[in-house]
């Protein structure tokens, strides 16, 4: 029997290693087949400029974004589930994702993001924050699963409607087609600039969420017990809400809505850490990054003439999982 502390360190190292492998594979996979030799020789010889550009300007930003966005989604999912003590909580189900997309759409199509670049991720943060606050206010903190999901659905739908409204007002008739991107995100043709925009907001968000790990562990025994153990529930609520918006908002603003990662990942990890909601956080973040990187590799390997949207893959995995969870919960209630 390995002591839990050591086991945790092993898991973290194993997950990091796995993520490293996914990252490298992600660099090797693209719409053009480049052998690792060609890639390597291209990187170190000035002559093959196109290979260099493909590597530095296209594949590297894409792989990095996949890791960062996946980490954000996995981590936020774990924190939301721990905080709400609700296994169905997730940034998508609770509407943060749609809210962030709405905020980003508003700043992008009104031209605000052109005037001031940071407006795009900030829009994502504010949109996510707005919807999350409304859901939490409507449903209350210890709300039942049903209330929470219904509130999430209601606000997601509202945000979706506002997105299409804004797109319809754009003077460019092609803008309406952009809705596909905002509803089903993608990492295609993103650039390193997107990462530079998102990271400065995402990193403080991660820090806030990771800081909650002790409080989330204490919350296992309910809010009053956690408070009696010296945790300020007000502070935790603030950290969770603002941290989630900061982590997810910019991610969604540069990639569009990518659903279900935050829902699936904590469930896969929870048995490994024997249910500990604190230890779940780092591992869920890393596993989210792995899941998103793998999905993005799959998206690039399946060639259907036109690249599949990343959000399609995550939803194809996530939606049946969601049904499975609902079914399991229903069985437990009966």
């Amino acid at each position: 029997m390995i002591p839990p502390n050591k086991r945790y360190l092993y898991l973290i190292s194993a997950m990091t290693l796995l993520l490293g492998v996914c990252f490298v594979v992600s660099l090797l996979v693209g719409s053009v087949m480049l052998t690792p030799q060609r890639l390597l020789s291209g990187l170190f010889h000035e002559v093959d400029m196109m290979v260099q550009l493909v590597f530095w300007e296209i594949r590297l930003p894409r792989a990095l974004l996949g890791v960062c966005v996946g980490f954000s989604l996995g981590l936020t999912g774990a924190v939301m589930q721990g905080y709400m003590r609700n296994p169905l909580a997730d940034p998508g189900v609770l509407g943060i994702t749609s809210g962030a997309a709405m905020g980003a759409v508003i700043t992008f199509y009104t031209g605000l993001a052109n005037a001031f670049e940071l407006a795009l991720p900030l829009g994502g943060v504010l949109g996510g924050l707005l919807i999350l606050c409304m859901v939490v206010m409507m449903a209350g903190r210890s709300a039942s699963v049903q209330t929470l999901i219904l509130a999430g659905i209601a606000f997601s739908t509202l945000a979706g409607a506002i997105i299409s409204l804004v797109l319809n007002f754009s003077p460019n008739p092609h803008a309406v087609l952009d809705i596909v991107f905002w509803l089903l995100g993608s990492l295609k043709d993103r650039s390193i600039n997107n990462l530079y925009l998102a990271l400065p907001l995402m990193v403080p968000g991660w820090a806030m969420l990771l800081y909650c790990s002790r409080a989330l562990r204490a919350l296992t025994l309910g809010e009053d017990t956690a408070a009696s153990m010296g945790f300020s529930m007000k502070q935790v609520r603030y950290l969770v809400i603002v941290g989630s918006a900061l982590a997810v908002g910019p991610a969604i603003a540069v990639t569009g809505s990518i659903g279900f990662v935050g829902l699936v990942v904590p469930h896969l990890i929870r048995p490994l850490v024997a249910g500990d909601p604190g230890r779940l956080l780092w591992l869920s973040g890393l596993a989210g990054a792995v899941l998103l990187s793998v999905s993005d590799i799959v998206v690039r390997l399946i060639s259907l003439g036109q690249e599949l949207k990343l959000g399609v893959i995550t939803s194809l995995i996530g939606a049946p999982f969601f049904f499975f969870l609902l079914f399991k919960m229903r069985r437990e209630v009966v």
């Binding site: 693209g30 053009v32 493909v54 300007e57 296209i58 754009s170 952009d178 295609k188 043709d189 690249e307």
Partner: protein, 300 residues
């Protein structure tokens, strides 16, 4: 031979249509209340028919970025949507539809026995000439139409003569969201006439297709042609074109823009595009060509 036959058949069809139209509406051979429902046909009709015979065009045609005939369009009634009731209320005696027109509207107007002509997207220059001739016939302006086509043929053959025997360069059209045009597209035959080998067609793309930035870079193009359509209005479709990788290759690849109010038309503007591309790609051959270049702005 086959082409001529098909062109003849279309003309024959038209003749019948015109006859029908005469019988039903009992007006003179020349229609006087013309409505056009697509920016490309609008632009053609505005060039071939006198303004007082035209009742309405599409609203977008008033936009200088959409049509070079926008000033004329400003004086007309405009249609925002393709609603049949909107059209019928204006009592047209001839309606032009574009290739992407609304089927329900077409069917309804047909049942109301409004004479109509639907133009197809041209797949080659002969289709363009046939479209121009069809519109000319329908309008009763055969002479103007023939003049337009003849001038286009003359300008194209001049370009062809200069390009003969030259080693050809490779390029592709790259428009929003990573779309590109392969065989059987307007962009394809325009490029062909400008002496550009279409990389998208080489890859087997027919009509509209997709290429990722990675594929574009690795296909070693000499020229990438962008569209300037609404480049200042933020849409995600521009994200691909504004990707920071393009300024990096600006010193090795010619990045150029074609005006969208020319490349989307079915008239002499297409030849303007050919001249533009030819002059951009082979400056030494076309020094004396007057057309101004429209260079891609690499400075963000």
């Amino acid at each position: 031979m086959l082409l001529q036959v098909s062109a003849f058949l279309i003309k024959l069809q038209f003749l019948i249509l015109c006859v029908l139209c005469c019988c039903i509406c009992s007006v003179s051979a020349k229609p006087l209340r013309i409505i056009s429902m697509d920016p490309a046909t609008d632009t053609l009709v505005l060039q071939l028919a006198d303004l007082d015979r035209i009742v309405a065009v599409r609203e977008r045609t008033q936009d200088p970025e959409v049509s070079l005939q926008w000033e004329k369009a400003l004086q007309l009634i405009t249609l925002r949507n393709e609603m049949a009731e909107e059209v019928y209320r204006l009592q047209p005696d001839l309606v032009f539809f574009g290739p992407w027109s609304n089927r329900a509207t077409r069917n309804l107007l047909k049942r109301l026995q409004v004479p109509a002509l639907r133009l197809q997207t041209p797949k080659n220059w002969e289709d363009v000439y046939a479209n121009i001739a069809d519109v000319g016939n329908a309008l009763g302006e055969e002479e103007r139409a023939a003049k337009m086509s003849a001038s286009m043929r003359r300008r194209l053959s001049a370009i062809e003569k200069r390009l003969r025997g030259q080693p050809l360069k490779r390029g592709l059209f790259y428009i929003g969201r990573g779309h590109t045009y392969g065989k059987n597209s307007k962009a394809h035959f325009v490029m062909e006439s400008a002496g550009v080998v279409n990389i998208a067609a080489e890859k087997g793309i027919v009509g509209l297709g997709m290429m990722s930035i990675e594929e574009v870079l690795m296909s070693a193009p000499d020229m990438i042609i962008f569209s300037d359509y609404k480049k200042d209005v933020p849409t995600l479709s521009r994200n691909v074109l504004d990707h920071p990788v393009f300024p990096h290759i600006a010193n090795r690849v010619i990045l150029t823009e074609v005006p969208s109010n020319k490349i989307n038309m079915t008239d002499a503007s297409l030849v303007d595009c050919v001249e533009l591309l030819a002059k951009t790609l082979y400056p030494h051959l076309f020094q004396d060509f007057p057309t101004a270049m429209n260079n891609y702005d690499t400075s963000e």
